[in-house]
Each structure stands twice: as structure tokens, then as C-alpha cells.
Symmetry: C2
Subunit: 538 residues, 2 copies
């Protein structure tokens, strides 16, 4: 059999050849760009050529700090296709982490949106590996800057050769990209994606079984392109000749809905907080979302109430997925099985609210101290995963690798149950689980119970130290604007859902729940903020 290597080059070349007129719609701070794949392909080649002229060689890392737009998309292909490595950087990282990841990756070039040039100026003396900064902007002149070597992206595109030929000797296990986890504790950890892992992960997104990305779709990735390759959608969409809509900076729910309506978006991917915001805008405004075949939600658990809202009220199919930086990211995805068609709506929603089944190509095990837990949908254990797009190491960090990877299996740090059909329900992060009197309580289940109440906008449950039970759950609730409900009413509401000892000892109301830069609840900060308060109440 042909030892043909699985590379990102083949993916772009397919779009160039057969979908030359299909569109990439890209919103930047100044205007909306409309390019086709022929143009995108030529611009990719020009960029590769210019990067080569700047001295970039095989294996060199190129960092990006950018929103979701066509230049970022071009870097997604131009960099790995020339056998360099695309390092997408979360521009919301604290400064010390920004410095850390650039140094750890030893980025030689940074591709930076004009908006973020200040971030780089502030740290320029602490990132010695960086030789050049390239400004991804519509402006025709370089702004005043203290940076020594700055280029305009568009000038490099003009100067580069649009017929540049990618090297044909790329090996599929060569690194193609890298991304750091947005650490809530400690330093960010680097994950390296290979051409092979990107290719196989993209193929998975095309399965009818999963998200089924195909030519006739219109893809709107709301998840940032710095965050695990926007879950792989830019790669899959390009490969399959799918029209892409890249929403650019300062995305609001209204803008999202306008783009969906105007561009006839069929699939869009984002975290629950995004979809919560869009839901509120949908309730207030009047938008045509009939083109949507699916919204895909991951990053953290989507409450069942949110799924019901989309499917039953807005008539928008909702796909709940699960993954992490270490898993490329799509690992499991909740599509009910054929036999579930006969279930009641409520039972179907319970299934849709799980993290779903492992996608073809990967393997999962849920492990506790006794080994693999029974597939009973009840017994909790740590979720472990392995497969060709699951990392088995952290970059430059053998100690972190040893903590998280054992025998080729990635230990996710998520506590989950699994049922006989393979549906996985993540009940908590290992470190967020409340351990009350030696028993485990799922904070995620309690949060979903609270969020199902119509007055609740967001809810988080954290463990608070307790003299007798070691730890007890505390509910933290943000009410919807203008909503009015008492603590007692909330308790009455969730009581029938849980055994008595799972119920929080108290519920407190706050204005806001602190979140990580990618929209996940930052429970550590919440615990710091609330542990005192709680102890006073006792």
C-alpha cells in the first residue's frame, strides 16, 4: 500500500483545486473581506514564501495572537505546509504566561493582530527568541511601535510567490501545530499536534456520526482560533470545501445571529456561555436561524436546560461535545442512537446532555481504584483516553507528562460515568469534586439542577471545608436580569432532583462568576472568594 503521508498540505490543495470559488467570509476590525479558496490558497503560498525569506526553516515555531479571520486561517495552512509549526497563543493569558509560552515554544516569528501589538511591546525584552513580528491588519502602514523588526502581513503577501511549492517530504509525524492549555494552576502546558493528528481529527469532523462537516455546509467557528485550532473546524471546512464565516474581533450575540442569518450558516461551534448569550438575544430579537443544521457546544458542560431551549424552543439542533487541548480536541460527542428515537423527550434530553460517545478512532476507559468501572451510568471514575489525536506528552515537561499519561492513556482529570452504550457523563473535574464524608458529590449535576430554574442565569457549585464531613457543597447563583427568586424557592426546586445529602448546605447570590479566558467557570477563584463568606454564615 502507498506510504502516502497524511498532511495538511493535501487538505489545502484539495480546496484550491476543486473549490476555488467557494467563499471565506472574514470580518476584521475595519471591514468584511470576501475571498475564495483560490485566493486563500495563493495567499497561503505567498505567506510561506515570505516566511522562508525571513529565515523560517523546518520545525521552527511561528506564534499567532489573532482573532478568527482569514489571515489567521491562512497561517493555519501556510505554516505547517512549509513544515514549520503553528503556535496559536491565547491573547487573554496573563502577561507572565504569555512570556512563558513564547519562550517555551521559542517562537521565531509572531503573527499579531494590530490590537495586540501593545501586549508584545510590553514584553519585548523578555522574549529573546522572537526575531520578527508580522502585523495582521488592514492598515496600510505600520503604526508607531517600539518593536525592532515589524512587517505588514499584506506586504509579505504581496512580496511572496503565490505559486510557491510546498515541500513534498513532510512526514505525517512532523509537528504541525501547538497549543498551550489555559492553566488554572501552575504554568500552561504545551501540546504538539502533528500533520497526522490534524488530518485524522479533521476527517473525524466530517463523519456523519459526528459533526458531518461537508461541502454544502457553512461553518461559523465562534470558539477562538487560538483555542485548540477552533476545535479543528477551519481545517475540516477547508478540506471539504465548506464555506467559512470567520467572525473577527468583539463578537456579540447580535453579531453572531446577523452572520447566521446573512451568510446562511449551517453549523457553528462555541462554549456554553456563548450559546447562553445567543439564546438571550434570540429571545429578544427576531433572527432567521433556519439555515442552522447544528450548533456544537463544548469546552464545558452544557446544561440540559440550554439544550432544551435550543432544540424545543428555537428549533436548532444542539450537539454536545467534549474534548480538551490534549485531545485535538474532539473526543466524545452526544448524538442519540437509533434506539433512542422511541424515548420520551425528557429522556432524549438526558442523553443529549451527556458528553456522549467516544468518536471512531479513539478509545476511552473510566478508571477508579479498582480498575475500569462498570458501564452502569452510575459508578464514577477518572476518564482516560487514547488514540491517534490524543497527546501522550507535554512539550518540554516530562514531569507533567508523567502525571497525566500512563501506559499511553491520557488521564483527563475529569470524573465521569459511562453507560452500556458508551455514553459518558462528566460529573466533575477531579479537583472540583466535592468529597463529603468519603462520598463523591457531582457539582456539575447540582449546577445543572440550579440552572434549569428559569430565574437562574448561571450557577456554580463549589466544595467548602466542613468540620464533620470534610467538605460540603455550596451553591453560587447569578440571577437573570430582573429575575426574582429566594434561596428557599431554589432549594424547593432542586430538592426532588437529588438525594438529600447531595443538596448544597447553602445557596448564595453573586453578580458574576469568575471565568477563565476561554469561558470556563474558574472555581478556584470562586472558592477563594467565597470560603470566608460561607464560614461566617455557619
Amino acid at each position: 500500500m502507498n506510504n502516502f503521508q497524511l498532511t495538511t498540505t493535501q487538505m489545502l490543495e484539495r480546496a484550491e483545486k476543486y473549490f476555488s470559488q467557494k467563499e471565506v467570509v472574514s470580518r476584521t476590525d475595519l471591514k468584511v473581506h470576501r475571498l475564495n479558496y483560490k485566493e486563500v490558497g495563493q495567499r497561503c503560498r505567498s505567506l510561506s514564501d515570505s516566511l522562508e525569506a525571513l529565515g523560517i526553516k523546518k520545525g521552527d515555531r511561528i506564534g499567532t495572537l489573532g482573532w478568527n479571520h482569514h489571515r489567521h486561517l491562512e497561517a493555519y495552512f501556510a505554516v505547517p505546509n512549509m513544515n514549520a509549526v503553528l503556535h496559536t497563543i491565547n491573547f487573554r493569558l496573563p502577561q507572565e504566561h504569555l512570556i512563558y509560552v513564547i519562550n517555551d515554544a521559542e517562537d521565531k516569528v509572531l503573527l499579531v493582530d494590530a490590537q495586540f501589538i501593545g501586549l508584545i511591546e510590553a514584553i519585548k525584552d523578555e522574549i529573546p527568541s522572537v526575531q520578527h513580528v508580522i502585523l495582521m491588519t488592514d492598515e496600510e502602514n505600520i503604526p508607531e511601535t517600539s518593536l525592532p523588526s515589524v512587517y505588514l502581513y499584506e506586504s509579505l503577501i504581496e512580496q511572496g510567490d503565490p505559486t510557491y511549492q510546498y515541500p513534498e517530504n513532510i512526514q505525517e509525524n512532523d509537528p504541525a501545530g501547538m497549543c498551550y492549555t489555559s492553566a488554572t494552576t501552575g504554568k500552561p502546558k504545551g501540546v504538539v499536534y502533528t500533520h497526522r493528528s490534524t488530518f485524522l481529527h479533521s476527517m473525524t469532523l466530517g463523519l456523519a456520526e459526528t459533526t458531518g462537516v461537508q461541502e454544502e455546509d457553512v461553518s461559523l467557528p465562534l470558539v477562538p482560533m487560538f483555542h485548540v485550532n477552533a476545535w479543528g473546524f477551519p481545517y475540516a471546512a477547508t478540506w471539504f470545501g465548506t464555506k467559512q464565516v470567520l467572525p473577527g474581533p468583539n463578537v456579540t450575540p447580535q453579531l453572531i445571529l446577523e452572520l447566521i442569518e446573512q451568510e446562511k450558516v449551517t453549523m457553528s461551534a462555541g462554549v456554553p456561555t456563548i450559546w447562553l448569550g445567543v439564546a438571550q438575544a434570540l429571545e429578544q430579537g427576531n433572527y432567521d436561524t433556519s439555515s442552522l443544521k447544528a450548533v456544537i457546544c463544548g469546552g464545558s458542560a452544557a446544561p440540559k436546560s440550554l439544550i432544551a431551549l435550543y432544540e424545543d424552543r428555537f428549533n436548532i439542533p444542539f450537539i454536545h461535545a467534549y474534548g480538551m487541548t490534549e485531545t485535538s480536541p474532539v473526543a466524545t460527542l452526544s448524538r442519540p442512537l437509533s434506539k433512542h428515537k422511541e424515548l420520551s423527550r425528557e429522556e432524549q434530553l438526558n442523553i443529549k446532555a451527556t458528553q456522549g460517545r467516544v468518536v471512531p478512532g479513539l478509545e476511552v476507559k473510566v478508571i477508579n481504584e479498582d480498575g475500569e468501572v462498570p458501564a452502569d451510568g452510575e459508578t464514577m471514575g477518572e476518564l482516560t483516553i487514547r488514540g491517534p489525536w490524543i497527546t501522550d506528552q507535554y512539550y518540554n515537561a516530562p514531569d507533567k507528562t508523567a502525571e497525566s499519561v500512563k501506559d499511553g492513556w491520557l488521564y483527563t482529570g475529569d470524573i465521569a460515568t459511562i453507560d452500556e452504550d458508551g455514553f459518558i457523563q462528566v460529573v466533575d473535574r477531579t479537583k472540583d469534586l466535592v468529597k463529603s464524608g468519603g462520598e463523591w458529590i457531582s457539582t456539575v449535576a447540582l449546577e445543572n439542577g440550579l440552572m434549569a430554574h428559569e430565574a437562574v442565569a448561571e450557577a456554580s457549585v463549589i466544595g467548602i471545608p466542613h468540620e464533620k464531613w470534610q467538605e460540603r457543597p455550596l451553591g453560587v447563583v447569578v440571577l437573570k436580569e430582573g429575575a426574582d427568586v429566594t434561596k428557599e424557592e431554589l432549594f424547593e426546586y432542586i430538592k426532588p432532583m437529588f438525594v438529600k445529602w447531595w443538596l448544597p448546605d447553602d445557596i448564595v447570590f453573586v453578580d458574576e462568576i469568575p471565568k477563565t479566558s476561554v469561558g470556563k467557570f474558574l472555581k478556584r477563584a470562586l472558592r477563594d472568594q467565597l470560603s470566608d463568606y460561607y464560614l461566617q454564615e455557619q
Copy 2:
């Protein structure tokens, strides 16, 4: 990234674990079996264990001569999962070829349907590598036979260990299967499939872009399991937890339609002659085919009239695909693009009647003496393909390899055009193309023109030697039962479709067109049979 190997083991294990209750319906000569994937999985393990007990080791070849049934399906996994190699044999091969392929592959064991035991008895002294014959039958006793070492499949299942553990050290480039081309001239040529090629090809069948096999489907492969792994459907269906219906021996159009109705089949794959037969049965009988999402047709070109019949009259979506033993087989597949939705029905049918676009993962080029032909949908050249499930060699045959593989590209021997969207139209086999006065005439186009006439059941066009033009086309037509049409009427009918010099010099009526054992027109035999006749007419 995890160096996780892509193997068939993972595919079966997914079905065992998560789809244990999904069904495999299998028709044998004595009865209809209903098994679930848990049972199939256990039986696979028992079979592997028993084969190991018979001395089968890594890399050994196991031949099969069987219809489409559950035991054949079990061999599809049991053999490669134990790191042996599954050699599916076309039981319709002439005896000399049967001997040749068994000796060339050096099969150690043959798994044989009871019906074919006579074939093996007749050649038993000429296949010295074969140590054991295993009878795939429902009978409880071994029939009288002159073969020395015969086992009952079901006894081996009983004796084997249903918890047998597959080796974990299988490498993805290890051979998993092999299949010989059904040669029309010369000896059959062997193609070896690897675990990797089988895995990637199966994944492709799951793409929404292609056939989109998924859990909720019910798959009915009509293409024989000896023929390029029944186009990969048994592998994909098992992996994705799809219910399978395996139709067994002596399949008739009526049986096919009964199975579709009873088992609620959603997708079925077969050659044009199968679908022609089914169409006739559909016109005569009353069957519920509403469960069908698609029939997939390949092996040879499907006439446009057949596609229109299925889609417009029977309301059954028809997918035209192209491939060959050397391509695993799915290489191209005709799904119209989103922009084609606005075309007239006639234009859409023209697109559906092409062989379609190359599937993601592969690359094609259409080559003539000047290099790659322009993508104008008109210029003819030889279709070449490469990719991770395209062979780059024939087994034990460096001379054949050198003829067909150049620079990693497989030269298919098919003459094709390609348009700017990548739609490929196979106009002929290299060796069947009519070369008239230095110009090429597509016999496939002429055949489709003739077959579009309502009185025509089958049509073939062959080149006949001609003094002035070197070669001229001759139409050979089989009329439908009871149909009545004159040669002159047929000429009138096709005249508007072609330029004058493409029209056949004559049309002759025959009772039957000779076919290969996999249902393709055997033009060589037709030429032998008709060249004299034609010359008399001149």
C-alpha cells in the same frame, strides 16, 4: 502525539463494547441467522483462537470462498485481528486462476462455503500450501469429501476461546487482507490491503461527503464479499455500529427487495447489472423501499437512464461511485455540489452520471502525452490516483507493478475527463477506447446513449478493425423482454446526442452480453464473437 496504530482490531472492539445489541442479519442456504455484535465479537475471538491452534501465525494467509454471510464477516475481523491476512477469493474464477491465486498467496487455510467444496476437491493436489479446509455451513456434520483435513466452522467456534485477546503489537502497515483483480487478460494480480488502508478507507465511507455510513443506518452489501471487501461496507458498518444485512447465496432482485422492506435497509451497494435487475422487479412488484437513503452503484459505469429511473421514478437516491481492486476500492463518488441545486434536473442527472469527485484523502490526475489535461470536462487522458488506500504494488509481480505504478501514482487504465470542480467522467478503458482516424471515441458515452432508449436492456460498444479509419465503433444491444425496436429507430434516437463521426457504423442485436464474474461487460469476448459478423456486413 500518541503513536496509536490504526487497526481493524479497534474497529471490531468498538462494536463489541458499544453496540453489543445491534444486529447482523445473515441469510445462509438453510436459514436466516440473527446475531448481535456481542455474539459476532465472541465468535471472531473463538475463530482467531482456533486458527491459532491450527498453527496460523502472524502474516499467514487465510483464503475464503464464501457468499455474503455472518461467518464471512467474522473472518473479516478474526483473521487480520490476529495479525494474519484475509485473502478473499472470487469463487467464479476459472479453475486455472483459482489454482493460481491460492498458490500465489500461499494460503494455509481455506474457509469455504459447503457449496464450493467441489471446487477445492477438484484442485486439491495442485494447492500444496493449503493445510486445512474449514467449512462455513449450518450442517452439523462434515459431508463426504476427498479432502484430507476438514473442519466445521461451527465446531471451531465452539472449541475456541470467546475471550481470546488480540495481539496489541499489530503495526498499521502490517497486511490485513488481499484480493486479486478479476483479470480479463493474463493472470489475476494480487493487491495487499494493510490495517491502515482498511481503517482509513472505512473512515472515508463514514464521511457525510461520501456514503455517510452511521449507526442509524442498515447496510445491505450486494457486492460480493470476495470483491474488494464488499467495497469496505462490512468494515465501516461494524465500526460505526450499523445494523448489517448479509444476503447470502443465490440473490435475486425479489429477495433484495424483500430484505430492504423487511429489514428497513437504508443503504445498499452493488454493480449496475444488479440495480438494473432490481429496477425491473420494482416495476413489476410492490415493495416498500422508503427506508432507503441511498443505493450505491459502482464496478462499472451506471447509465444516466438508470439513475433517473431510481431517483425520479422510485424516489431512491442513487450514488454513483468509482473504484477498483487497487483502490480499496472507493476513489471517487458523485455527489452534486451545493451550487448544483439550482441546475435543471437534466443537468443534475448529467453530474450524477459522472464518476464524481475524488474522496478526501486521495489525489487524482488525468494525464495524457502532454502531462496533466486541462480541467475542461472534455480533454481525455488516463486517470491516475494516489493516496493512503491506493496500492503502489502488485503482490509478487514487480513487472505488473512497473506497468501500472509510476512515481507512486497508480495508472488506472481508465480514460477520463475532469472538470473544474473535479468531476471525473470515465469515458473508457484504455484498451476499449475506439481510435477512429487518430481520434478517440468514448464507447461508454455511446453505450449510455443507447441504454437511455426505453426498449434497450443493455448495450455495449466495441471497436472493430476498419481499413480506412483503423477502428470504428459497433453497437451491440440486448432488448428488454417483449420490446421491439429497429436498428434505424435506435440510430435516429442517438443521432442528436453525438457528433456524426462518433456514431457506430452498425448496431447488432444479441441475446446476451458476456460479463466478467463480477458483472462487468467482457468486451474482449464480445470483440472475438462479433468481429467476423461485422466484417460480413461490410
